[in-house]
Every structure is written in structure tokens, then in C-alpha cells.
């Protein structure tokens, strides 16, 4: 009997399911960052707002990268539904903490996907996911740098405003 599945699909079916779940997570992440951007805008933290708008766009790009990967390889990608996005935050610090937790959850999910790829010998997808592993490492570092600013500068008086102005620089790498 011919291996019709392999003729039509380069990805393992179970891995395709996990990739579709990852699409949902990236979409949720993008929406969560938009909610954070909105909160920042309302609280006159415009640099942080811009940072989160950019993050939201980046997460959507990640989502599309996975979406295209599935369809390009013969699979079926499903457009995700997004619900349960939190819009209530106590402070900017809480937002960055939530953002870091979110990135850690995404990292775990990607690692889980790589683990599955190894289990079912889907080396193509494992190779594809290497870019995401690197990306997640950088995302986590960025969020940690933001939280370090809170420890260094505090948020009393002008502190919060000055901290907001430093936010665009957290994407830059530290001086070597």
C-alpha cells in the first residue's frame, strides 16, 4: 500500500496538531500584548505602549510563520479564535512580569514541540523550530531587562516616566 500521507504531507500529523495549537498561543499572545499597549497608552506611558504594539505585531508574525509552514508542507492550518484577553493591570511592572511569564510559557510550548518532533523523527519541523528557540531566548532576555529597570530605577515620582523613556532601549543588546 502506498504511503499517501507522506506523499501529501511533509509534517507528522501529531506535530501538525501541536503546530496548530502553537498558532493559537501566538495569536493569544499577540492580543495580550495589544491589551498591554492599550493600558500603557491610557496611562501616558507612550514608549511602553509602542514597545507592546511592536511585540503584538511580532507575535502575529510568528503565528503567520507557523501558519505558512503548515500549509506549505501540505497540512491544514486553522485560523485561531482568541478569547479571554486580560485588560486589567495594576502597574507597568505587573505588565512586564505578565509579559515575561507569557514568553516563558511560549518557550516551554516550543520546547515541547521540539521534543515531540524528536520522538516521531520529524526532523524537518525540528529544523524549522530552531529559529523559534533562538527568538524565544531573545524575547525572555528583553523582558528580564525591563524588569531589571524597575529594580534599578523604581517607580516613585519621576522614576516611572524616566523608566518608560528607557523602554525602547531594552531591545538593544548590552554593550560588549
Amino acid at each position: 500500500m502506498k504511503d499517501l500521507v507522506r506523499q501529501k504531507l511533509s509534517i507528522h500529523v501529531d506535530v501538525m496538531d501541536l503546530l496548530n495549537k502553537q498558532i493559537e498561543k501566538e495569536a493569544h499572545s499577540s492580543s495580550a500584548y495589544l491589551a498591554m499597549a492599550s493600558w500603557c497608552d491610557h496611562n501616558a506611558l507612550s514608549y511602553s505602549a509602542d514597545f507592546f504594539y511592536e511585540q503584538a505585531a511580532e507575535e502575529r508574525e510568528h503565528m503567520m510563520k507557523i501558519f505558512r509552514y503548515i500549509t506549505d508542507n501540505g497540512g491544514t492550518a486553522f485560523s485561531p479564535e482568541v478569547g479571554g484577553v486580560n485588560h486589567d493591570f495594576k502597574s507597568l511592572e505587573e505588565i512586564f512580569e505578565t509579559a515575561l511569564d507569557q514568553e516563558i510559557a511560549i518557550t516551554k510550548s516550543i520546547h515541547n514541540l521540539v521534543g515531540k518532533c524528536r520522538k516521531v523523527n520529524d526532523y524537518t519541523t525540528e529544523y524549522f523550530l530552531h529559529w523559534f528557540i533562538q527568538e524565544q531566548m531573545e524575547e525572555e532576555q528583553t523582558m528580564r531587562r525591563a524588569l531589571e529597570l524597575f529594580d534599578l530605577m523604581g517607580t516613585d515620582g519621576l522614576g516611572l516616566k524616566l523608566l518608560d523613556e528607557r523602554i525602547p532601549q531594552i531591545r538593544d543588546k548590552r554593550p560588549e
Binding site: M1, K2, D3, L4, V5, R6, Q7, K8, L9, V13, M16, G74, G75, T76, F78
Partner: protein, 104 residues
């Protein structure tokens, strides 16, 4: 055509010549391409069996449209339970076939 998997109500087949699949339902047999088989699998996966037993799905029916809305099916609870087992079994057989093809 070769039988892939048979459950209480349904049978799946693979046709090498036409490079497609067939599913035999109690009252008709339909032809599916691989993408359509994947879409069918997704629809079956999304059936919430719990809703049939906790009162959320009062009528105990599920409606599925397959192959770009060419076919319309209504399944009762028993058929839905069987359908889930059937899809899992069919894909397990396909995977087994892939493993055999790789090892030869």
C-alpha cells in the same frame, strides 16, 4: 482499494490508484482527498462528547459538512462516540503504513 480501519458503523479505505481515501457511512460512501480527510478529522476532534451527557447538547445530534460542503451528515451520540474511535483508528493505521514504508 484497501481497508484501513473498520469501526461499528464506519469503514475507511485507501485507493492507491486514485491517490485518495473513501469512507463508508451506513447510507453512503464518499471520496476524500488527503486535505479533506484532515478536515474531517478536525471536525470529529471538535465534537464535544461531554456536551451530549451534561445537558448542553439536548438533542444529542452533531451535524458535519464534508468535502467543501458536498456532503451533509447528522450523527447521534452513539455514532459520534464511534466516529471518534474510527478517526483515531484510521490515522493510527495510516501512521503504521508510513512506518512500514519507511522501514522497507
Amino acid at each position: 482499494m484497501k481497508v484501513l480501519h473498520q469501526s461499528q458503523f464506519f469503514i475507511s479505505y485507501q485507493c492507491d490508484k486514485q491517490r485518495c481515501f473513501f469512507i463508508e457511512f451506513p447510507h453512503k460512501t464518499i471520496k476524500l482527498g488527503f486535505c479533506q480527510l484532515l478536515a474531517f478529522r478536525q471536525q470529529v476532534k471538535e465534537i464535544d462528547l461531554e456536551a451530549h451527557f451534561n445537558g448542553q447538547n439536548n438533542h444529542g445530534m452533531e451535524m458535519l459538512m464534508l468535502c467543501n460542503r458536498q456532503h451533509f451528515f447528522v450523527f447521534n451520540t452513539l455514532e459520534c462516540i464511534d466516529l471518534k474511535e474510527f478517526v483515531t483508528g484510521t490515522f493510527a493505521m495510516l501512521e503504521l503504513n508510513s512506518l512500514l514504508a519507511t522501514s522497507v
